[in-house]
Amino acid sequence: MDLHFGDSKPTDDERAAVDALLGPPESSWEGADRSDADLRWARGGRAARDRRDLLLPGLHAINDRIGWISEGALDYLCRRLTVPPAEAYGVATFYAMFSVKPRPATVLHVCTDLACAAAGAAELCAGIESRLGLGSGVHVERSPCLGLCERAPAALAIKAGDPVRTAVSAPATVHEAVLAASAPDSAPGEPPAAMAVPQAGQGDLVLLQRVGVVDPAGLDDYRAHGGYTALRRAFELGPAGVIREVTDSGLVGRGGAAFPTGRKWQATASQPDHPHYLVCNADESEPGTFKDRVLMEGDPYALVEAMTIAAYATGAHRGYLYLRGEYPRAIHRVQHAIDQARARGLLGDDVLGQGYAFDIEIRRGAGAYICGEETALFNSIEGYRGEPRSKPPFPVEKGLFGKPTVENNVETLVNVLPILTMGAPAYAAIGTGRSTGPKLFCVSGSVDRPGIYELPFGATLGEVLQLAGVRPGLRAVLLGGAAGGFVRPDETDIPLTFEGTREAGTTLGSGVVMAFDDTVPLPRLLLRIAEFFRDESCGQCVPCRVGTVRQEEALHRIAERTGAAAADDIALLREVGRAMRDASICGLGQTAWNAVESAIDRLGAYE
């Protein structure tokens, strides 16, 4: 390939940020000063190109240190990794957390998504902006869901520097959000993860049993609470035995698509091509979803142990944890857990002295809902734009780096621990025949006790709402997040199982239960959902790239209209929505219109 680098040079800071990640450059070909040896010796080629997957970490390194990515910095990173600058520019501009234009070192992300909008995000933004004004050194960015919906409205401040500093304010007031942005170091700390678990400490919890009980930083404490017994059991059973248990348990994926986990593992394990990879999807950007964050913050070793078991069963020796960039505390906690586990021989060349090698690398997302789609996630890790690939081939055959890959959601993996400790039959006895085990629900909106609830599959919507203390005047409940669907307040007897929601013509998705009372203007909510999908479309395929725009326009037109006056535009929404569902490449475009459609059909919005 002909690599062409412009004349712009990195600043010392930018160079240092990149070198801190990649080590110093070894020759002038990589951007060091020219030496005599360079005249006779060229380095680069395949070895350097094989590091393409460090592009995203490299962009983070620059953005973290400087706050944005200049031409000189980007070109220097490209030189170090032998990546064409045009491609790297295409990658940098894909992610919402990066900027290729100068901006202040501090960015304050203020959530304007569903739960936060209902909790007054618009006034919060206006207040923050009027307090900060021009020249404050803070760039205010309206953000999609920050995964802090139980504490809506939420704000996240990120101050570039060495090291980068972050602070969360939730529930945010103008005063506290401004404080977090101007002095992240002295902002008050976040409440413990257990605060998001109203049932914390109750004896009958399975997935959440340790949240609020163990010290999330303490490996010994984790072990004292039953940690690493599941991995020992896995080594007793052997890989095939583990897969058998998982299959017999009836576990299906908790990431939204509800695919049987045992089948996925079996399909990956039996691929002749090697190496195999394990990817844990911790991107969690579905509006209304925050369960994976609470698990990672409250019980990080459980995820490390569960990933080790999944990798062992499927023959992988390397695991990637793709964690959304907006979760600084989760990243910090899981990284600590990985480091401790490695130091104690629970990760590395010889896990638990069993001669099995496995290690985990965290990859930080940079603000793109679409990167939760499994193949987009592979592209993102590999250093390409986070665009979904077309399937087939499926990940079990050709996934990360073109190799057989098993990808699972955080909650799915954490379920593997009780499956192994209690045995498949006991696990399968929980829940219903076709939806087995415990399930986490992310409850937010107009309820008194928002948070993560764990219930055996089969509980009804009404039971979940009652637990959370639903407020009077319920107007609608959104099930499954922005890609899910609305149901009416009189549909509380819907059983929250995969089959029960399907029969009721809706979906469980990632376990979102968002309640809206009648003070929330429905058309504004629907507009926000449309805006979300328009913003988050990767832009690859026409039905989604343009369809989401046309739908948002139609919703704007009918925001104040009902009945016959809205009929034309509702017909247009349906026609475009049908093509998006049928002809889009990936789940984003295929589901983007679900929630709005359900609001029209079930709630009678615009009637």
Partner: protein, 286 residues
């Protein structure tokens, strides 16, 4: 055009196409089979020399048992598959895709699209006068070619042709995302500051005229571009010994652009800057 490779003979597989038995060599796409059967499926992002990106979605067909429609251009035919190409469902998606495209970009120089719009009864105007459009100004920053992204449908063909599928120069990429996604060079600068080597292979594959010869762009602006008055002559490039075939497009005794036959085993439609753009000396008449 389908090039039949002279390799190891491939096994035939059988499936049903619109109720008829179809037999195609293993590895064929549904589109290959449709074309062999004389069925006309619209395509935009598919190109005969490139791996289809399957991004435009105008070629979608119905496959029995599949939850969504599938792109004919890239889905391989499988034994026993039941494919229907002309159902109401497939036609509906094609119609909407054409409406979405035609309402957002300028398709006036995209061959065949006007006929499809008619055939599928697409009405791009129904999104109203305020429907968002790209509204890009043509970028004229060099003497060889013009980038008029107001006509770009983001088919990714130019990116693939410039990148690992042909040229290996990687001068262009898709930047941004969603409706704001655009084709651009590094740092979105002018072409002259980029890695572009002016081979023009991106122009060769662009299906919409978003990338065009400066000569064509100027003549269109002046109203003198007239394809019916042009002749095409294929000859051999005289610059170096590679032996690329050049097709000279001549109007009023002037070369107005140069392409290359895609089935030529030397070029597969690709040229270098000399063959593609180095024709002025031929027509310098003292």
């Amino acid at each position: 055009m389908t090039v039949t490779p002279l390799g190891i003979p491939r096994r035939l597989l059988e499936f049903t196409l619109d109720g008829q038995e179809a037999r195609v060599p293993e590895g064929s796409t549904i589109l290959d089979a449709c074309r062999a059967a004389g069925k006309d499926i619209p395509t935009l992002c598919e190109g005969d020399t490139l791996t289809p990106k399957n991004a435009c979605r105008v070629c979608v067909v119905e496959v029995e048992g599949a939850r969504t429609l599938v792109p004919a251009c890239s889905r391989k035919a499988e034994p026993g598959m039941e494919v229907r190409t002309d159902t109401e469902r497939a036609r509906h998606s094609r119609k909407i895709v054409l409406e979405l495209l035609a309402s957002s970009v300028d398709l006036s120089t995209t061959p065949k699209v006007a006929a499809w719009i008619k055939e599928y009864e697409a009405k791009p105007d129904r999104f109203g006068p305020d429907a968002a459009r790209l509204n890009e100004e043509p970028r004229v920053d060099n003497d060889l070619y013009v980038r008029d992204y107001d006509k770009c449908i983001l088919c990714y063909k130019c990116v693939d042709a410039c990148g690992d599928q042909w040229q290996n120069t990687f001068a262009i990429s898709v930047v941004g995302r969603g409706f704001d996604a655009r084709i651009a060079v590094e740092h979105d600068g002018p072409l002259t500051d980029s890695a572009c080597v002016y081979c023009g292979n991106c122009i060769e594959v662009c299906p919409t005229g978003a990338l065009s010869f400066k000569s064509e762009f100027d003549m269109r602006a002046a109203g003198t571009w007239d394809e019916s008055a042009q002749t095409e002559t294929t000859t051999v490039c005289a610059y170096c010994g590679v032996g690329c075939n050049l097709t000279l497009h001549v109007q009023d005794n002037e070369i107005v652009k140069v392409t290359s036959p895609h089935d030529n085993p030397v070029t597969h439609g690709n040229l270098c800057i000399k063959g593609r753009f180095g024709y002025q000396h031929v027509q310098n008449r003292g």
